[in-house]
């Protein structure tokens, strides 16, 4: 492949290390890459590969304990070692960035108008009035609906997709030569992701800037990037044109990334399997009660009249975008939220039971949450976390028996039983999720509600967890309600799929039917945004011209 003669932006042997109490940690170890004017380059790698830190170092944005060596040249000038004043002539003007978390990346205390206007005033020398007028143009450029009325809005009043559009508006404000997009759509739903990526691609053709994507999502890479750098453990293991990398990866690591999409399908259960859970007309409505001199707020219908039925050994996948009510449904069937409707478990009605009446059933009805960091108590050892439920549900067990159950549960999730004396922070995200599964497993449950259990994990780790869940299900004849926005994972796990939107079921059926032949437009759109990003993006750009 031909290297551009003078790259717009170039990293040359970048090393980044962080001083920690345990000695320096090398996050980036000699990374070099180039990007030419107008080019789209992707840097891919799993979490901890150093892909973000290399860019942060180049932009002078490392945390206080970070050290960088090497050169980051923009139009030939080395940015590393420059004064803040010199860097600030480039940051926000020639090179701009958008980040993964559009909620926290915008200042919650100021209007979006002000935040877009600030870089314009600082770099472009615009007056406040002119900057505000330009902010409106920019909001229209990034297609925020009803832009004029949105100028005075605060970040929390916008949806995730709109916030990311605001970030893009800020990034475009000073006509940059390079836009660094650090996981720009990771926190967004697939359909919103397709819109945001389409917007970026469209703006790039119109404005001609170069885009550097930092991402772990190969779907994005394939749809958008001209060239790819693959990073692992702080070094670039492979780079080249996108087509070549996808068609003929040279390293085992790239190959692994490429097929880390969860594979395999769930084997169907015998038709005579008993029904474990049956729910009719489950409805959850949230209201704020009237207070002293205040009226009650308008009720929010989070889940409306949902029916579901699940047999032993079966998995029901519940998919939908954020706010569709899928997690609320999961909590409602377990009677963790007040709800209307009828829920029966193994033939007995459990709807409306209070905490103490539910206690005998809790053992059989377990839940695993998305965030393996937040849902494990940091001050308990893994052994204590796993056996805590046994103290309540099997008080007759001796300490020795409980320990034996904990060891068995850890072995089931492929962890060394010796780890039960360690604390959660000593484990990686994937290991923590295994611990959370072991905690549910130790009680020998009949049904586990898994709420986005793989969403915070890297693709390769996701794949392992999916395989683990499938194996455990067969071994223990458990049923799952698997809640996820990730369609690829659901396809690999579920017998039946329910697509939810705005609290109602849009479509339900067997996995094959929903994935291969969806009937509703919404499901079809969801499928295409998830599995066929390139086509969706090209159609979007055709539609606009």
């Amino acid at each position: 492949m031909t290297q551009p003669r003078s790259p717009l932006f170039e990293l040359d042997d970048i090393h980044v290390s962080f001083a920690t109490p345990d000695g320096p940690v090398e996050a980036v170890r000699g990374v070099s890459m180039q990007i030419a004017r107008g080019e789209t380059v992707a840097v891919v790698g799993e979490s901890g590969s150093g892909k973000s830190q290399a860019m942060m170092a180049a932009m002078g944005l490392l945390a206080g304990n970070g050290q960088v060596t090497g050169a980051a040249r923009f139009n030939g000038d080395n940015l590393i070692g420059q004064s803040k004043r010199a860097l600030d002539r480039i940051r926000g003007a020639k090179i701009t960035m958008i980040f993964q978390e559009p909620m926290t990346s915008l200042d919650p205390l100021y209007t979006i108008e002000r935040q877009i206007a600030e870089p314009l005033m600082v770099h472009g020398g615009l007056s406040r009035r002119k900057a505000r007028a330009r902010a409106l143009d920019l909001l229209e450029l990034v297609r925020i609906p009803n832009a004029k009325a949105r100028l005075g809005a605060y970040p929390h009043e916008l949806s995730g997709g709109q916030r990311q559009r605001v970030m893009i508006a800020m990034a475009l404000a000073n006509d940059p030569d390079l836009l660094i997009a650090d996981e720009p759509t990771t926190a967004l739903d697939v359909t919103i992701q397709a819109e945001i990526l389409g917007l970026l691609a469209d703006l790039q053709t119109r404005l001609g800037m170069a885009i550097l994507f930092i991402t772990h999502d190969l779907g994005i890479v394939q749809a958008l990037a001209d060239r790819v750098y693959v990073m692992r453990h702080g070094v670039v293991v492979e780079h080249g044109p996108t087509d070549r990398i996808f068609a003929a990866p040279e390293t085992a690591y790239t190959t692994m990334l490429l097929d880390s999409e969860p594979t395999g399908r769930k084997a169907p259960v015998a038709p005579e399997a008993e029904t474990v859970m049956d729910a009719r007309g489950v409805t959850v409505t949230f209201t704020t009660p009237a207070g002293f001199l205040s009226r009650p707020s308008a009720p929010i219908h989070a889940v409306r009249a949902v029916n579901l039925s699940l047999r032993r050994g079966e998995t029901l996948g519940v998919v939908g975008e954020s706010g569709s009510g899928k997690s609320t449904l999961g909590r409602a069937v377990l009677q963790l939220l007040p709800s209307e409707g009828r829920v029966s478990f193994l033939g007995t009605s459990i709807s409306g039971l209070d905490r103490s009446a539910m206690r005998p059933y809790r053992k059989s009805l377990q839940m695993v949450f998305q965030d393996p960091y937040g849902s494990l108590s940091p001050r308990m050892t893994v052994g204590e976390i796993i056996t805590e439920g046994l103290l309540v549900h099997a008080p007759e067990l001796s300490a020795k028996d409980r320990d034996a159950r904990a060891r068995a549960a850890l072995q089931e999730v492929d962890l060394d039983p010796a780890v039960r004396n360690r604390f959660p922070h000593e484990f990686s995200g994937g290991q923590r999720q295994r611990i959370a599964i072991a905690r549910a497993l130790v009680l020998h449950p009949t049904l586990i509600v898994l709420d986005e259990p793989t969403s915070a994990l890297d693709r390769s780790v996701q794949k392992q967890i999916v395989t683990l869940l499938r194996d455990l299900q067969i071994r223990h004849a458990m049923s799952y309600i698997f809640i996820s926005h990730d369609l690829a994972v659901v396809r690999a796990l579920a017998d039946h799929v329910m697509v939810m939107r705005d609290g109602t079921v849009v479509e339900a059926g067997s996995t094959a039917q929903i994935f291969d032949d969806p009937t509703s437009n919404y499901t079809r759109r969801l499928m295409r945004a998830a599995f066929d990003l390139s086509t969706v993006l090209s159609e979007q750009s055709v539609a606009r011209t």
């Binding site: 932009m59 002078g60 944005l61 945390a63 206080g64 803040k84 860097l87 600030d88 002539r89 480039i90 940051r91 926000g92 003007a93 701009t96 960035m97 980040f99 978390e101 926290t104 990346s105 915008l106 200042d107 919650p108 205390l109 100021y110 600030e118 870089p119 600082v122 770099h123 605060y154 929390h156 970030m167 800020m170 002293f292 001199l293 205040s294």
Partner: protein
């Protein structure tokens, strides 16, 4: 917002009523009475005094009698300072205490805020450690040690400033008591602001501001400090109520005619009406400042909305 403030003020009435009721019966339950002296009074004099002040009537009757007067804004006569009503005592003492407390609060916010910011911006350097050490010292050393020391050094040895007295609020007389009153608050504010500022400087939106090349003053003052103020604002409410209603220690040491001493002398002498008067004043200040904090919070943080 106006509706909210009105609602909160109305909501404060039952709170104040409960405080008044609780305080009324608690002080009466305490053994002794306002006219018990080491040398006991003539029984007839005692009886006369009790009749004049309605102390011979049943407690519930005294309670309604007090409430009735209170509704008309009359806090009653002081039992100990015989020539003054409680209203007069508070009216003369409160401006003194509020002047001292207000100035001390201002000083604490400005100096504490600046020190906290500097420490946060120079985190883990000598300056940071110096601020933390001074702040810890300021919190641990009690003001009954600091105040006489200040008076001794600046008032007596150096003779730069008067060592005591109110002197009609002459600024020179205010300097030492205000500093003595502010020192522990400066320390607390500095620590609070330092902590929240460090967090704010690490937040994602400050990273955005840096990535967009905003000048340092904009990043620090506009984007970090406003967020960092929020925890300090919650602290200031109760602290301000405490400062403005006077400090017995500072007022005694510097010989100032504030209301802080009334609470102690009133309680020790069973001066029922004076105690009730100070309780009501402090309760009103606490309620008002908590409301002020909530309003300020909403002004600083658009995510907080009450209507």
């Amino acid at each position: 917002m106006f509706r909210y403030v009105l609602r909160r003020l109305l909501g404060a009435i039952p709170t104040l009523f409960l405080i008044v009721t609780g305080a009324f019966f608690l002080i009466r339950v305490a053994p002794g009475g306002p006219f018990d002296r080491e040398r006991t009074l003539e029984p007839t004099v005692m009886a006369n005094l009790n009749r004049v002040f309605h102390l011979d009537e049943p407690l519930w009757q005294q309670y309604f009698y007090y409430l009735g007067n209170l509704a008309r804004g009359d806090l009653g006569p002081s039992f100990v300072y015989r020539d003054f009503s409680v209203g007069q005592l508070l009216a003369s003492g409160l401006p003194v205490s509020m002047t001292l407390g207000g100035l001390a609060l201002l000083l604490a916010l400005v100096v504490g805020g600046i020190l906290g910011c500097i420490a946060a911006l120079r985190q883990n350097t000598g300056i940071d450690y110096a601020v933390i050490a001074t702040a810890t010292f300021g919190i641990t050393v009690p003001n009954f040690v600091v105040a006489p020391l200040l008076a001794l050094v600046f008032g007596v040895w150096l003779s730069w400033l008067p060592a005591g007295g109110w002197n009609d609020g002459n600024p020179a007389n205010l300097v030492l008591p205000v500093i003595a009153l502010a020192l522990p608050q400066i320390a607390v504010v500095a620590r609070l602001i330092r902590g929240s500022m460090i967090e704010a400087l690490r937040s994602d939106h400050v990273r955005t501001a840096r990535a967009y090349g905003l000048p340092t003053w904009m990043i620090v003052i506009i984007h970090a400090l406003r967020a960092a103020c929020l925890p300090a604002v919650s602290y200031i409410g109760p602290a301000a109520a405490g400062l403005l209603t006077g400090s017995i220690i500072i007022e005694q040491i510097f010989g100032l005619p504030g209301i802080g001493r009334y609470f102690v002398t009133g309680a020790l002498n069973r001066d029922y009406t004076l105690v009730m008067g100070t309780v009501i004043i402090i309760a009103i200040f606490v309620v008002l400042f908590n409301l002020l904090v909530d309003v300020l919070y909403a002004l600083l943080d658009p995510r907080v909305r009450y209507d």
